[in-house]
């Protein structure tokens, strides 16, 4: 079932189903779109994101691959060269390291090297970042790595509206898009309006969204951490601190204008991400704020809340202390506001 109940004109859709519906609609809309990856067809997807698609579209358009990332990512890029519009799933983004040469050197750079002769309309998607108890090799966040590279668009949705609108936009985009999902968000439901449920609903890639208006401090985040920022904001509101929460939605191109406008309003900035601090998304945002007009409006240094700078441990107590928690965000806000 696509939705559990309908209230007024709101549909409750979890992130998994939002992604599923987005792919279904785009597969139906354009014959050239197809999905390949491990377990995407007959298993319905390792995380069930592609449930039902193989049954509906068959072997030609939903393709199970062997466990050979470098090979099938290359095949996906070649198919894009020749006019198809592949969606290449990495079971998790950790496995993309086996194929990263194809993503960067074959996909991202080709339009430039060919001086516009060869576009590459491909989407690479899959779950990114930390999960629960999957340990170090399965928990890395790749937003900074892929966000570093010109020629790629890098998208990191938080909620179901983000997932739906951005995936449809990514599939319709004629450029290589790295689509970073989050496993722990797959099962989380959100209310979607009729407008969002329309089959041509797309969100602009490269535009951030202010999820919560505020006046005292700007919190900038992406993916699951956006939810933590909103939770922290709710707690802080009780103490009279009004946080403005900005959901990046896109890592590259970064919507620095929206961040600057917010900082120029609040005078304070905290970035929040799940990835490691060194050379990360927050580091880039802070550098850009320093270099731009918003610097003059800062009443305190811009600061980052990040994952701890260690490989992800397994034991629950250690894992819980390896990622930003709501209390870390609250603590940081108070430090920055000198409370």
């Amino acid at each position: 079932a696509f939705f559990s109940h309908r209230v007024m004109s709101l549909f409750q859709v979890n992130v998994r189903d939002a992604l599923n519906q987005a792919m279904d609609e785009e597969l139906e809309r354009d014959e050239r779109v197809f999905l390949l990856g491990e377990e995407v067809a007959q298993y319905d997807g390792a995380y069930k994101v592609s449930r039902g698609l193989w049954k509906k579209y068959g072997d030609k358009r939903i393709i199970d691959t062997p466990i050979t990332e470098m090979g099938f990512a290359g095949i996906a890029v070649g198919a894009a060269f020749a006019g198809l519009r592949p969606i290449c799933e990495f079971m998790t983004w950790n496995f993309s390291m086996q194929a990263i040469d194809q993503v960067i050197n074959s996909a991202a750079k080709t339009y430039y090297m060919s001086a516009g002769a060869q576009p590459v309309p491909i989407v690479f998607r899959g779950p990114n970042g930390s999960s629960a108890g999957v340990a170090a090799q399965h928990s890395q966040c790749f937003a900074a790595w892929y966000g570093h590279c010109p020629g790629l668009k890098v998208v990191s949705p938080w909620n179901s509206e983000d997932a739906r609108g951005l995936l449809k936009a990514a599939i319709r985009d004629n450029n290589p898009v790295v689509f970073l999902e989050n496993e722990l968000m797959y099962g989380v439901p959100f209310d979607l309006s009729e407008e969002v449920m329309h089959k041509d609903f797309v969100l602009p890639i490269g535009k951030a969204k202010v999820e919560r208006q505020g006046t005292h401090i700007t919190l900038v985040s992406h993916s699951r951490c956006v939810g933590f920022c909103l939770d922290a904001a709710a707690v802080l509101a009780k103490e009279g601190v009004e946080c403005e929460v900005v959901n990046l939605r896109t890592i590259r191109p970064l919507d620095v204008e929206t961040i600057e406008a917010s900082v120029m309003k609040t005078g304070h900035l905290v970035t929040v991400e799940g990835g490691w601090p060194q050379y990360g998304v927050g580091a880039e945002i802070c550098a850009r704020i320093m270099e731009g007009p918003a610097f003059n409006y800062l009443d305190a240094p811009a600061v980052r809340v990040t994952g701890v700078d260690i490989p992800m441990p397994y034991a629950k107590i250690l894992e819980d202390h390896s990622v930003p928690q709501i209390k870390d965000i609250i603590f940081t806000v108070k430090k920055v506001l000198n409370m």
Binding site: M70, I75, N174
Partner: protein, 393 residues
């Protein structure tokens, strides 16, 4: 070294057939020429195949002249590139194809321009056979705005219709080629993709991944290993546990072909193309060939092989000489006619080199363009926070 020389001689000697002495004639009218002739060609080695390509090849006069001119054009173009590189007008990487001309020309003789082809970085010859002009190839090597990639790509990144480069990362082009083949099958257009790689790349894991998926899904792909005996400075014995590259596809049928004989290459390609188009899936061709230059212009090419070896191949197995001898001794063309072609080719190369050295470099406005397709122009950060550049599609 001596062992290597013997191996190479034995492999290539069979291809150095001279069909009788050349005839010297003063003048002939075209009506006097033989319109077509059938030649015996070397038998190929077979892997998992009952039958191979035919043992003879019929060449028409027109085809012969076309192959001769194209091979000569590639030869002269590469030699001119050598010259320009030594004058520092071409810079960076430059991997030359002279010696291997029969491969590019023979392959094109077995497919059509609506088929697809992808190769690695030794790609100037293929850029030509796939429809590029000498002018735009040379201007790309010299990094000018008239280059086939407007100066943005250089030697290793040239593209034409149904030709996907020109790829710098060893082996990466092979899965890409299978992806193109997948698109051919998906779209049901009866086209195929030729995916080339060298003896060095042949050991890459992603190639075996591609063998697997291409066979599973019966993709219309012809894998071609251009075995020129050396991967940079490493000979085949030093890099491969098995140098029988035509067998390395294991469950994929393979043939090993004399890559110095344009007719052998053509017949083998026709055979392979028929195999693909019949829906049987992939097939693998090993072309035994040789490069006269080193790996690239930074490699003199004589520290890992002897000058005697290079000279032996040149004198006994040169692909252009072989075709020329065949045509002359079968009265398919005159020496004067071929000389005229040589002169025309030389002129074409000179004109192209002139263009390539005088055409201006790309405008600075082009620096940031072609990042994204079909997008609005957007700002790109320059070297300093105050340098704001624009990218257009």
């Amino acid at each position: 070294m001596q062992k290597m020389l013997t191996i190479i001689s034995n492999v290539l000697r069979g291809s150095a057939r001279r069909n009788g002495a050349s005839l010297v004639v003063a003048s002939r009218s075209y009506a006097d020429f033989t319109p077509e002739a059938t030649f015996d060609i070397k038998k190929v080695d077979l892997h998992r195949l009952e039958e191979g390509p035919p043992l003879t090849s019929t060449l028409t006069r027109e085809e012969g002249l076309k192959y001769y001119r194209t091979m000569q054009t590639i030869r002269r173009m590469e030699l001119k590139a050598d010259q320009l590189y030594k004058q520092k007008i071409i810079r960076g990487f430059c991997h030359l194809y002279d010696g291997q001309e029969a491969c590019a020309v023979g392959i094109e003789g077995g497919i059509t321009l609506s088929d697809h082809l992808i190769t690695a970085y030794r790609a100037h010859g293929y850029t030509l056979t796939r429809g590029g002009t000498v002018r735009e190839i040379m201007a790309e090597l010299t990094g000018r705005r008239g280059g086939i990639a407007k100066g943005k790509g250089g030697s290793m990144h040239m593209y034409t219709k149904n030709f996907y480069g020109g790829n710098g990362i060893v082996g990466a082009q092979v899965p890409l080629g299978a992806g193109v083949a997948l698109a051919c099958k998906y779209l049901g257009n009866d086209q195929l993709c030729v995916s080339l790689y060298g003896d060095g790349a042949a050991n890459q894991g992603q190639i075996f991944e591609t063998y697997n998926m291409s066979s599973l899904w019966k993709l219309p792909i012809i894998f071609i290993c251009e075995n020129n005996q050396y991967a940079m400075g490493t000979s085949v014995e030093r890099s491969a546990a098995s140098t029988e590259y035509y067998k390395r596809g294991d469950y994929i049928p393979g043939i090993r072909v004399d890559g110095m004989d344009v007719l052998c290459v053509r017949e083998a390609t026709k055979f392979a193309a028929a195999h693909c188009r019949s829906g049987k899936g992939p097939i693998l061709m090993e072309l035994q060939t040789y490069r006269y230059h080193g790996h690239s212009m930074s490699d003199p090419g004589v520290s890992y092989r002897t000058r005697e070896e290079i000279q032996e191949v040149r004198s006994k197995s040169d692909p252009i000489s072989m075709l020329k001898d065949r045509m002359l001794s079968n009265n398919m063309a005159s020496i004067e006619e071929l000389k005229e072609i040589d002169i025309a080719v030389r002129k074409e190369i000179e004109d192209a080199a002139q263009f390539a050295t005088t055409d201006p470099e790309p405008p600075l406005d082009d620096l940031c363009s072609h990042i994204f397709a079909n997008d609005q122009p957007f700002e790109v950060r320059g070297a300093t926070p105050w340098t704001k550049l624009t990218s257009t599609s």
